[in-house]
């Protein structure tokens, strides 16, 4: 091989790798401090450097090796997203059976089996979001790079490859990451379409516009419902922090509708309502009610008329969805016993207990069970939002309540450590106590 052929080969490989990298956009593994930002890119670079060190048999083979290495690296990197991947899977595995009793266990199993979640930091100004077009673009790029649709690497890309983005500015704000449950909810809605009848339209609306709008809103609301099913109150609380605007938009319904729905879901799962919330959960009721009042009294948005029209119908749809989820699958399900059955489960008791009492990391080994990520996040929110607990937390760590940033930073660090300890114990294989 002439000397310049090697250079050309490396150039070509670099070009391909750049294309792959661009496809992945600002993809970065979401680890604890976001400092593995260059991980993916370094893998690609290493592949090129490896090529420079040892040239295989021929140009094509060399290029293939590089690209395949990069592809493998991309595939491997999905396993590297351990923090939020485990966030999602443990939420599905641990929380769903607790909240929705037996039927969802099977559904959740399918979701985890066929679904691969990828979470990355978005360095552009953005919110938590669910990127539908990302998997398609990635697959097209991989097919082009490998030039073989039957390549095992391509087959390794799951059909539904959900990609979620986190605003980079919030990368260390674990509390807000509960909002990811809503994005996971989008993936679940796509995976488990419900046979719901179309909504009736108001008389003075253009049918196409209104249908599109309502369908988008319905998607959002179903995702909200799934979020509460997955994580309990945490997604609602993070949504309250993240959505200061109360107007309905073309993509999202207004907060009043979303909060109402999520409260409905929380009531169903025993966190709120039924006239007898646990005494220690009163802060949550008060918080939700005041947020609802704020949302209700805000100025109506451009699509408010449509919202008023659709309000009851959409709520009805969500109720149907929850019922459908509970009736789904083979296991018989008794509607009237739902709440009491849910609360009878020991694991739910344990979960509620932790939410009530908070779970700082120094108490993790104090419990009989390993706390789940869901319980840690809810404990964090309870600490932050319950005035009595917040005061206690600040006093315990000699933090000034008026310097909220420092206190929140500490709380987030503790939550991160709690999550780290939980993950390490699982990874290491420490038996549950």
């Amino acid at each position: 091989m002439p000397p310049n052929a090697t250079d050309e080969l490396v150039q070509q490989a670099r070009f391909r790798l750049t294309a792959l990298r661009d496809t992945m956009g600002t993809l970065q593994p979401a680890t604890r401090h976001g400092l593995s930002a260059r991980f993916l890119f370094n893998l690609c670079r290493r592949a090129v450097e490896g090529l420079e060190r040892q040239i295989p048999e021929g140009p094509q083979a060399a290029e293939d090796t590089v690209v395949q290495d990069a592809v493998k690296a991309l595939m491997a990197s999905t396993g590297f997203f351990h923090f939020l991947l485990s966030f999602v899977t443990s939420a599905v595995n641990e929380r769903v059976p607790e909240a929705m009793t037996v039927p969802l266990e099977k559904v959740a199993g399918q979701v985890v089996e066929h679904n691969r979640m990828l979470v990355y930091y978005d360095w552009t100004p953005s919110n938590y979001s669910f990127r539908r077009d990302f998997p398609r673009r990635l697959k097209e790029q991989l097919v082009e790079a490998l030039d073989d649709e039957d390549d095992p690497a391509i087959k390794a890309v799951p059909q539904l490859f959900a990609v979620l983005s986190i605003p980079a500015a919030e990368r260390n704000n674990v509390l807000l990451h509960s909002a990811l449950a809503h994005e996971v909810g989008h993936a679940l809605v796509e995976q488990l379409p419900l046979p719901l009848p179309p909504l009736e339209l108001p008389p003075n609306q253009k049918p196409v516009d209104a249908t599109t709008l309502l369908s988008k809103w319905q998607h959002e609301l179903l995702a909200d419902a799934w979020a509460t099913v997955l994580l309990g109150p945490a997604p609602l609380l993070s949504l309250m922090e993240l959505s200061p605007h109360d107007h309905a938009s073309n993509d999202h319904p207004c907060n009043f509708l979303r909060f109402t729905l999520m409260r409905h879901c929380l009531e169903k799962s025993g966190f709120l309502g039924a006239g007898k919330p646990p005494v220690d959960m009163e802060w949550l009721s008060g918080h939700v009610e005041s947020a609802l009042t704020r949302a209700q009294t805000s100025q109506p948005g451009a699509n408010e008329a449509l919202f008023v029209w659709a309000h009851k119908q959409l709520l009805q749809r969500i109720s149907e969805m929850l019922d459908h989820v509970s009736k789904h699958d083979l296991v018989a399900y008794k509607r009237e016993a739902w709440d009491s059955e849910c609360l009878k489960r020991p694991s739910v008791h344990a979960l509620v207990w932790r939410i009530l009492h908070c779970t700082p990391p120094d108490r993790i080994d104090h419990k009989q069970e390993q706390p789940s990520l869901a319980s840690i996040l809810n404990a964090g929110w309870a600490t932050h939002k319950s005035p009595a607990r917040w005061q206690k937390f600040c006093a315990q760590f000699c933090l000034k309540q008026d310097v909220e940033y420092n206190s929140l930073l500490r709380l987030n660090q503790l939550l991160l450590k709690a999550i780290e300890i939980t993950s390490i114990r699982l990874e290491w294989g420490v038996p549950l106590q």
Binding site: S36, D362, R363, F397, Q413, I421, W428, V430
Partner: protein, 215 residues
């Protein structure tokens, strides 16, 4: 009195506020072996390696944020990942274990002899005050002649616990609940300024510039 392994175990199972917390103990029988008088601690997942070329000098008046950005490079390693500590290199790390000492209990974090024999120093300021909570920051230095391969999860340190006189007062400085290596203020800035002013006065009085930093 230094606590034995069984006494440490007993303290671990007490109720708050007398409870000693060391979590996670991934391999309790080994980390707290019978007959020992210390608990083995593991290297945590976060490292701060020094970049000497990025800083002219260090002092208590320097901006701490600037120090962090310029002098120390922070990285987060998953379990099993490698960190190479080169000869004479200095790095900050933390224990994997989150520790909470109750009042009436103090500790000394010291190296393990097997690592010390290959040249690894893990801590220079070793005393842990009663009431401390958080991960312990370790000051790593390789005194050997060859690079040393470290990985989060290695048992490189041990914590010796001893009883001290009980006090109800807690020191806010001990309640940092650090979850990784932390770089703290070297000393009170006011005190440091006062000392510098004294030096300046002496220089004006005697014309002696001894002790002034080189320009």
């Amino acid at each position: 009195m230094i606590l034995s392994a069984s006494q440490i175990r007993c303290r671990l199972s007490m109720e708050f506020p007398r409870k000693l917390v060391i979590t996670p103990l991934l391999d309790e029988p080994r980390q707290l072996s019978p007959g020992a008088a210390a608990v083995d601690l593991r290297l945590g997942q976060e490292m701060m390696a020094a970049k000497p070329a990025m800083l002219t000098y260090l002092g208590p008046l320097e901006n701490q944020d600037e120090l962090l950005r310029g002098y120390l490079h922070r990285s987060y390693l998953p379990l099993g990942a490698e960190f190479i500590l080169h000869p004479r290199q200095f790095a900050l790390a933390a224990t994997l274990e989150y520790i909470r000492l109750p009042q009436g209990l103090a500790g000394h974090v010291v190296g393990r002899s097997r690592w010390a024999r290959v040249g690894l120093i893990i801590a220079m300021a070793t005393f842990v005050h009663p009431g401390y909570c958080g991960c312990l920051t370790l000051e790593l230095q390789n005194l050997g002649d060859v690079p040393m391969r470290l990985s989060p999860g290695f048992t490189i340190a041990q914590l010796i616990l001893e009883e001290v006189g009980f006090s109800n007062e807690s020191d806010p400085d001990q309640l940092t609940c650090a979850v990784g290596p932390e770089f703290r203020e070297l000393m009170s800035i006011a005190e440091c300024k006062k000392l510098l002013e004294l030096g300046e006065k002496r220089r004006l009085r005697t014309g002696d510039d001894w002790g002034q930093p080189a320009q």
